[in-house]
Chain length 226, copies 2
């Protein structure tokens, strides 16, 4: 008789994430998981990024929220396919939910999938969604002391966006202290200070996203990945 083992939630999530990864690879799509606090500027960043790539890359969006379709409505206004993933209370997205979202959003026709996680910098960092890269989103008004206080996210990200730099003159944000704190947790991830209000710095972040996508798809072709 086979013994049934109920795996814990993170193990179950990891299996679902592996399936998402295989699905993305099969479709030749690259997925970015945007993680940041409530009001850090994740949706505004997507609103800036999408028009810059839409002429050459097909983009779909999964919008994670506890409640309302407000963010999906903002994205739909840009004319790209979007699915709102409502957790109904849950403070993070999980991979099985993302898998359903990929089906709904029409993955087969997409190059990039932008996943906006629930506004929270604690738990979302613990859950692998099968994404190609995690992008941390912090804003200068949240203060320079955040990396050490929420270390997992800053350790896990493949890139870090520091938004709202147009507000730097009105805050006491210490850029040197911030970078030192972040680099103590993550030596490699590129760092993109930018402003979604003025557009400053957005182009460099978009170039990075396209590089990640090119690398993934070239790698997929060259080495026979799924």
């Amino acid at each position: 008789m086979e013994i049934k083992v109920l795996h814990n939630i993170l193990e179950a999530n990891d299996r679902a994430a592996d399936e998402v990864r295989a699905t993305l690879a099969g479709a030749g799509a690259t997925a970015f998981n945007f993680i940041g606090g409530p009001g850090s500027g994740k949706t505004s960043l997507l609103e800036r990024v999408i028009p810059r790539v839409a002429d050459r890359l097909r983009v779909g969006v999964l919008e994670g929220d506890i409640a309302t379709t407000r963010d999906a409505e903002r994205i739909a206004a840009l004319g790209v396919p979007v699915v709102q993933l409502l957790t109904g209370g849950g403070c993070h997205l999980e991979a099985a939910f993302v898998a359903r979202g990929l089906t709904e959003v029409g993955l087969s026709g997409l190059d990039l999938v932008l996943i906006e996680n629930v506004g929270n910098i604690a738990c979302p960092a613990e859950f692998d969604l099968g994404e190609t890269a995690k992008v941390g989103v912090l804003s200068v008004t949240e203060g320079h002391d955040k990396p050490g206080k929420y270390p997992l996210l800053f350790h896990e990200v493949s890139a870090l966006v520091l938004g709202k730099i147009d507000l730097l003159p009105y805050t006491d944000f210490d850029m040197q202290a911030f970078e030192a704190d972040f680099r103590g947790l993550n030596a490699k991830a590129p760092f993109f200070p930018l402003s979604c209000r003025t557009g400053e710095g957005v182009a460099a972040f978009v170039v990075w996203m396209e590089q990640v996508h090119s690398r993934e798809t070239d790698f997929g072709r060259g080495y026979g990945q799924q």
Copy 2:
């Protein structure tokens, strides 16, 4: 034979919260649970409030964080007793941990206990800590669309602080839309727009805190509560 029942985490927390409530009542102390996103200004608010009440009320602080003692160090500089509660990854405080913190901070000598939750507006709202009142802390740079997107917190709070109003001229925060969204979830809780940078609005919030404390202690005396 007695059957052992393992209650779920929220039920276990509720029992611990009832114990915290009884302990606070026995000590004649009033506890405020400050809940807000990372960088919303919770610690800055405590830094503004404490010097305003320290001449007539004895204050102790429990600082909830995932990692580092940065916030407790800021509070210790004000000369009040403080205990850092490190969750080591957990995205919220639970009542049993607060109970230990109350012992460590020296509850018997205190009038007010200020509990700063982990920076997160999802899960902390689900966990009763046995506090007298939950205080929501949002800042204008997080945007006016937050109440509907994180409804439980805004529904649960006994008061709402909207901080960083000195930055209002540099944002597109819509105060009317915000208040309408908040009032749709919570008709009664007083609302305190303020700036910890300039000090504007802090006095009104402190008056409210003292009223809550007076009401609690009068009620305790008058009606024979523990």
